[in-house]
Subunit: 421 residues, 2 copies
């Protein structure tokens, strides 16, 4: 089954509100095997709403709308779509009663205002989608040829509730069984560029087990998403598992997890398994690494603490970095990064230490050490590594990439100790 | 001028990624007086891309696309649109040189892979939109009848940079003068709830200078947005300025800035003006406050550093918190917060210190100190404040709200010292 989504509202079209409803709808429909082929956003003008829905119905015969069902004057969806289907509007007494009950429950003064009654106007022959999360009811309209359009409110909480309660069962019944689902699985990689991933994957660069491979680069690395479409639920899961296994085999240690995996949680688990506690010393990242680690619930059983050594004086006095090395090599240098990692470990009494020092920009770069240059050092029990990297992006991206790289250095030292050092 | 936006990508259509590009584009275009009348999202299929762009061109003759310009095989926008305009693709030597230069600058091994060259394929007769923020160039294509389509990459940072650098000037030139604009201005408030804001604003709660007031609550506080529609550019700016002044007058110190103002930058400026340096001590926020401060470019002339005192041992040994107070009052208590602020100040030799200790959850709450309980203390020269707050939200929201509240405490101590203490 193919479907289109139309979201309605000047706020969306003008960009004052980010459209999260469309993404939620698409995910829920995909899980039913319903394919969203296009989505459109139009403003609060009846003719634009009608035109977008007419176009979509001509292409797929099935449209879900959100927005424009409230009591205010700019809510025009219902009259526009009623006109498109050639229906008139009439007051629905059951909805009037529902609205009056809510009005009283909320302790509002006096009788329900007439403007609110607009919500109880329903196109003839429509099916009402009950809204137990708010006031505006949803509507399902269908013509003699089986083409249908469903209207949901734009408030995300109400939309999500009604979708689950009322609309998805109707859509599932139409889609029928055996339509095939859309399922996906994501492998998270870091420390390897998008183009290098494609080279490393070779014959798997485009497809694995017949499933297309999508590359999603981000600050944390490149995610690889496999998507299965048109298969039954069980076969989709089996094929995704087999495809993910083939990619993992090819990529080895570059894969740190799947789907929502967080590298900080991976590192914490690896430390926890060996009873190691962690301390971090940060200069250019200024707390970003500590915040990543402590964002994970339960991190206090691994994270001892950290030092943000933004000024060189803090590097010397709290971390014991040698002033001669600061003078001779500069703050962004291998000896300083190594001494920061060793110093914070010693100072906080942990088995694992990390040091990060670099130039996040926009100022401070030199030809030898351009903006983005970062030295990262890690020390785990009796092993120590250090590496220099040139990160791309703006200040915040450089800081986030550096924190992610530091976590990856720890992961590799903890899980693949034979590889280096 | 009327325009349509088409955003491209399976990840958008399937709802895996929220489409923030479309909102950004719409806001920037509205500020030029260009009206976005519809936007559409399609997946990574050449025929769907071409159909959506053809429909949009038929309606408005002007389309901006984002996405589908990268080096991987699912990037199909350029060939689809070139075909739509009846153009062939050819390698652009200047872009090849740009790509090779970036490849070398990033220290990648060997020659530029052939897959990356796809980015240098340009439709004949197209105007190249230079991408100084990344590799994929943008493209402007126009037919003999004045209909045009512009393609930008989907990576938000690159898209935003190219839009400002290259595309907006082209669009502005076409739009001409005299169209009514949509402009908005945002006042950022913190430390006051949305409902209390409306009470404080009184007769200005709905409209100021005739402009509607929108309430946008977020983790950093509640933003108030005034929007002017349909006025000329100068009149819009004048009315917005007058409306903002009326709101500011009513709200006083609850307003910390406008539009993209960052409270961390406000605090740094206030410290800089008085030549004060800052040190922070964090327990539950675990580096979030330090990261906020050091995210601001140039913060190193104010921020000395910080201590993430996650374990009580770090509170005692690095910050000098009294063990008897930790035992008697617990780590989340007024004396501990005050000693953290004073201790980090003394230890790092600064005039300003902050201490944060709380329960970010999800575990660790008690009836006396439920999840969300946070003690914040600040010490500025010879003044010291402390406050207990119960923050709402999940772990990350509580941490972010606590960091914002700590910054606001500093702002008030620095800018409104007579108010308290």
């Amino acid at each position: 089954m193919r479907i289109e989504i139309v979201t309605i509202g000047d706020e969306l079209l003008l960009g004052f509100t980010i459209d999260t409803n469309a993404a939620h709808l698409a995910r829920e429909l995909a899980a039913l095997g319903v394919q969203v082929v296009r989505r459109a956003t139009v403003g609060d003008r009846a003719e634009e709403i009608a035109a977008a829905v007419r176009d979509a119905l001509d292409r797929t015969g099935a449209v879900i709308m959100t927005g424009g069902l409230g009591p205010t004057a700019d809510d025009l969806t219902k009259p526009a779509i009623a006109a498109l289907f050639g229906r008139s509007l009439a007051l629905d007494p059951a909805i009037v009663a529902h609205l009056e009950r809510i009005w009283k429950e909320r302790g509002r003064p006096g009788a329900l205002p007439a403007t609110n009654l607009q919500q109880a106007m329903i196109p003839e022959g429509a099916r009402v989608l009950f809204n137990r999360h708010g006031t505006a009811p949803g509507i399902w309209l269908e013509d003699g040829g089986g083409r249908w359009a469903a209207m949901l409110p734009g408030v995300p909480r109400e939309m999500r509730g009604m979708l689950a309660d009322e609309l998805l069962p109707l859509v599932a019944a139409r889609a029928g069984a055996g339509a095939g689902v859309v399922r996906s699985r994501t492998l998270r990689t870091t420390g390897i560029a998008e183009s290098q991933l494609a080279v490393t994957l070779g014959d798997l660069a485009q497809r694995a087990e017949g499933l297309p491979v999508a590359y999603l680069p981000g600050v944390d690395g490149v995610d690889l998403r496999l998507t299965a479409r048109g298969l039954g639920a069980d076969e989709a899961e089996r094929t995704l598992a087999a495809g993910a296994a083939r990619l993992r085999e090819r990529l080895g240690r570059f894969v740190y997890g799947e789907d929502d995996a967080d590298l900080a949680a991976v590192v914490l688990d690896a430390c926890r398994a060996r009873g190691l506690r962690v301390a971090v010393a940060e200069s250019c990242t200024g707390g970003v690494l500590a915040a990543r680690l402590t964002a994970v619930p339960g991190s206090s059983d691994v994270v001892e603490g950290g030092v943000v050594a933004y000024d060189n004086r803090v590097k010397r006095e709290l971390l014991g970095v040698d002033d001669r090395d600061l003078q001779a090599y500069g703050a962004v240098s291998e000896p300083v990064a190594r001494q920061m990692a060793a110093g914070v470990r010693e100072r906080l009494g942990t088995a694992v230490g990390v040091g990060i020092t670099g130039i996040a920009g926009p100022g401070g770069g030199t030809p030898e050490k351009p903006v983005g240059t970062v030295w990262i050092a890690a020390s785990v029990e009796d092993a120590a590594w250090a590496a220099r990297t040139l990160f791309i992006g703006d200040r915040e991206e450089i800081r986030r990439r550096a924190a992610q790289a530091a976590l990856d250095m720890l992961r590799r030292m903890l899980l693949f100790p034979a590889e280096r050092g």
